[in-house]
């Protein structure tokens, strides 16, 4: 099995985390979280990949043919739903924060420390 997709997935996760750690803008931060999450899509889909395989829809292909793993596709789909929910929720919090506090720079939010 090819190792490149796994390296790419790890790279995307690390880039997302780096972006989060250095972010100066909360919308950018939520975007970085989505980037980190997309590493899991790449990982899941590359796990299920079969060389020469087709989509696992057996109405179109004979039952014995090589197909990619449908389980990881279901997982990736669930993952997308989870990610969409969390991203939407976090973005709505950022909007509220901007309304009440008129800043989206995480470094200016220092009400909680110590």
């Amino acid at each position: 099995m090819h190792v490149l997709p796994y390296l790419v997935s790890g790279w995307i996760l690390l880039v997302g985390m780096y972006g989060l750690a250095t972010s100066r803008n909360l919308i950018h931060a939520v975007g970085c979280l989505a980037v980190a999450q997309s590493s899991t899509y790449v990982l899941l889909l590359s796990i299920g990949f079969r060389r020469g395989g087709t989509a696992p829809v057996f109405s179109d292909v004979p039952t014995g043919s090589v197909v990619v793993d449908p389980v990881v596709q279901a997982l990736a789909l669930t993952d997308v739903v989870v990610g969409a929910t969390v991203t939407a929720l976090l973005l709505s919090l950022v909007i509220q924060l901007h309304k009440r506090h008129s800043t989206i720079d995480p470094d200016q939010l220092n009400g909680l420390r110590g």
């Binding site: 750690a21 909360l26 980190a36 997982l75 969390v86 919090l93 009400g111 909680l112 420390r113 110590g114």
Partner: protein, 624 residues
């Protein structure tokens, strides 16, 4: 109906309730909405109690939709209800009911146009927690984990009018979601190795291969999500920020049961997936997690002592107790698990009661700041103040509270393992309880010297928005009855005969991997059972003289700490002055840098998360 058919209902009932409230909540008048929410929470509690009773110390399983595995392989999703799992769900349901009753008149102004939002979110939270406690499938656990996470972020930021809850909710959301995606990466790696998602099936298939970097990476990544939820050091930075600003009823749930579910999840994943051949050696897990637990307990206790924001103080005390729970679980034997389970149950009662009483302060005085409330709540001394003090004693583990019995049992198991571990238990529980007693004495009796505003790096607790805006009215009855009942429940956990014995059996079942695999209808795992018998010498299920004495010692120490803080500044004499100077220097050198670490910045949180993952990877690679 078969008892195991009730397992999916435990998740489905609150989900359905959430849907009903989301759909028709806005049409209901406030009273009807309150009554319906209470009835629904009660229904799920009764359901889980019946499940606990009918399971009767066995492990129940339900392959949802009848998708059973064939020859140990399959894609079905399984729900597993062993006594510890059902017990955690039961605890969650009990706290949900308490919170629903407590919040009856609490949110005077629901968001306009959406009066059903709060009960809907609370029931959705319950569905996530019950599902997480009962699932036997790793990916399903991730989904329930994110469900309870997303609801918790929304509930934390429920008061969208204030900037601080929003900040806390954002940090909470981003850090926990990032950790959950790390978990998902680990689950993906495990699927790549074994082609399975069920915990028992993965565990069986790991035996086909030796322990290599992939297994270690998968273990650390899966554990990261769970331990971030559990707020282990250095993953804990989000917790005080979120707990300090969440609405009080939500704090009761977060501290009482959600954080503990992280520890439960880590233990469950270790035993079912990684405890066999091809997994992670028990010695490595024991060493790393006991160390982390000790650090967490000590750091939480030191930080707890420093706080003047009462909710934030209670949040740090939760971190400290999480450290103790981690130690108990990381002993990797049945007595440790049983003692921890009892400790968690007792702690949930005491901590939820303390948060509920803090909610009364916020309601009456619009502040949760120990310094500005100094001596102001004297008229509540015999109701709220008394319960607050009792809660402090319960936190210290004074007999006969449930926390005391749980602490005594865990201490005994820990002492059989490493002789100095009980000292950590006594010291940290005394320090956190001492902080609570100090606060109670200051706020409700105005005892001791007037506190002065000291160092710079701290969160103040005044200028909090009161959550109910009707100044001058008496304390609503549910806000007094619920904490009283919670404290009584904490007492009952310590006094009910047979609960200790039942949990000891549950602990043996929890640590018996072969029993879990057999219950899931799979062939027995190869190789000997790793953990079931280790440390079995220190069994015992009730109060012992040693346990009572150590509990009493914690209580006395807590009172001594509190008295020192209250009256220490008034004392005169050279020795006292010299000791005071020493304490001030220690606080400047050690504690202030520690407090500066808790900067509340999102970037720092993420950096610590990455550091923690790297540290765990290094530790487990070295010890595998």
């Amino acid at each position: 109906m078969n008892a195991s058919d009730l397992l999916p209902l435990a998740v489905a009932v609150p989900l359905l309730g959430a849907a009903v409230f989301a759909a028709v909540g806005r049409l209901l008048p406030r009273l009807a909405s309150d009554i319906l929410a209470t009835a629904w929470a009660l229904a799920d509690l009764v359901l889980l109690a019946v499940l606990w009773h009918r399971a009767n110390g066995r492990t129940l399983t339900n392959w949802v939709g009848g998708w059973r595995p064939h020859d140990g392989e399959g894609v079905g999703v399984v729900l597993v209800g062993d006594p510890i799992g059902v017990g955690m769900a039961l605890l969650a349901a009990a706290l949900i009911l308490a919170v629903t009753v407590y919040a009856w008149r609490y949110f005077a102004e629901p968001p306009s146009g959406h009066p059903g939002t709060f009960p809907a979110l609370i029931l959705l939270f319950e569905a996530g927690m019950c599902g997480f406690a009962l699932t036997g499938d790793l990916f399903n656990a991730f989904v329930f984990f994110e469900l309870m996470g997303a609801v918790a972020y929304a509930l934390t930021g429920y008061h969208v009018e204030d900037p601080r809850p929003l900040q806390g909710a954002l940090t909470f959301g981003i850090v926990n979601s990032l950790a959950a995606y790390c978990s998902l990466t680990g689950i993906g790696l495990l699927y790549a190795r074994t082609g399975e998602l069920g915990m028992a099936q993965i565990g069986l298939h790991l035996a086909d291969h030796r322990t290599d970097a992939l297994v270690v990476a998968a273990f650390v990544l899966v554990l990261t999500g769970l331990l971030v939820k559990a707020a282990m050091v250095p993953f804990h930075f989000w917790l005080p920020d979120a707990h300090a600003v969440a609405p009080t009823p939500v704090c009761m749930l977060l501290s009482g049961v959600m954080v503990e579910l992280g520890v439960y999840g880590a233990a469950r994943v270790y035993w079912t997936v990684f405890s066999g051949p091809g997994g992670i050696p028990a010695a490595a897990v024991h060493e790393v997690l006991v160390t982390a637990g000790v650090v967490t307990a000590l750091l939480g206790a030191v930080m707890c002592w420093q706080q003047r924001h009462v909710k934030r103080m209670l949040a740090f005390s939760t971190i400290s107790h999480i450290g103790l729970f981690l130690i108990g679980v990381a002993l990797l034997n049945a007595p440790g698990v049983a003692g921890t389970a009892l400790y968690v149950a007792g702690h949930a009662g005491a901590k939820a009661a303390l948060f509920a009483l803090t909610g009364v302060l916020l309601d009456q005085y619009g502040s949760v700041d120990e310094h500005t409330l100094f001596g102001r709540a004297v008229r509540l001394r015999w109701s709220v103040g008394l319960m607050f003090g009792l809660g402090g004693l319960a936190l210290a583990g004074v007999p006969p509270f449930g926390t005391g019995l749980g602490k005594a049992l865990t201490e005994r198991a820990a002492g059989a393992d490493l002789a100095w571990l009980p000292a950590v238990f006594v010291l940290t529980s005394a320090l956190t309880a001492g902080a609570v007693l100090r606060t109670a004495a200051r706020i409700f009796t105005g005892a001791g010297a007037t506190p002065h505003d000291g160092s710079d790096a701290q969160t103040r607790g005044d200028h909090e928005e009161p959550e109910v805006r009707e100044p001058g009215r008496p304390v609503p009855l549910p806000m007094l009855v619920v904490p009283g009942l919670l404290l009584a429940a904490c007492l009952a956990v310590g006094l009910l005969p047979g609960l200790g014995a039942e949990l000891a059996r549950a602990g043996r079942l929890f640590t018996d991997r072969a029993a879990y695999t057999a219950a899931a209808g799979l062939p027995a795992p190869a190789g000997p059972a790793v953990s079931a018998t280790a440390g079995a010498a220190a069994t015992g299920t009730g109060w012992t003289t040693e346990g009572v004495l150590l509990g009493a010692l914690s209580g006395v120490l807590a009172a001594a700490f509190a008295a020192t803080a209250l009256w220490g500044p008034n004392l005169t004499g050279t020795t006292v002055r010299r000791l005071g100077g020493l304490a001030a220097a220690g606080s400047r050198r050690l504690v202030l840098p520690l407090r500066r670490l808790h900067s509340g910045r999102l970037g720092d949180n993420v950096a610590w998360l990455a550091t923690g993952i790297a540290g765990l990877l290094a530790a487990f690679t070295a010890l595998k």
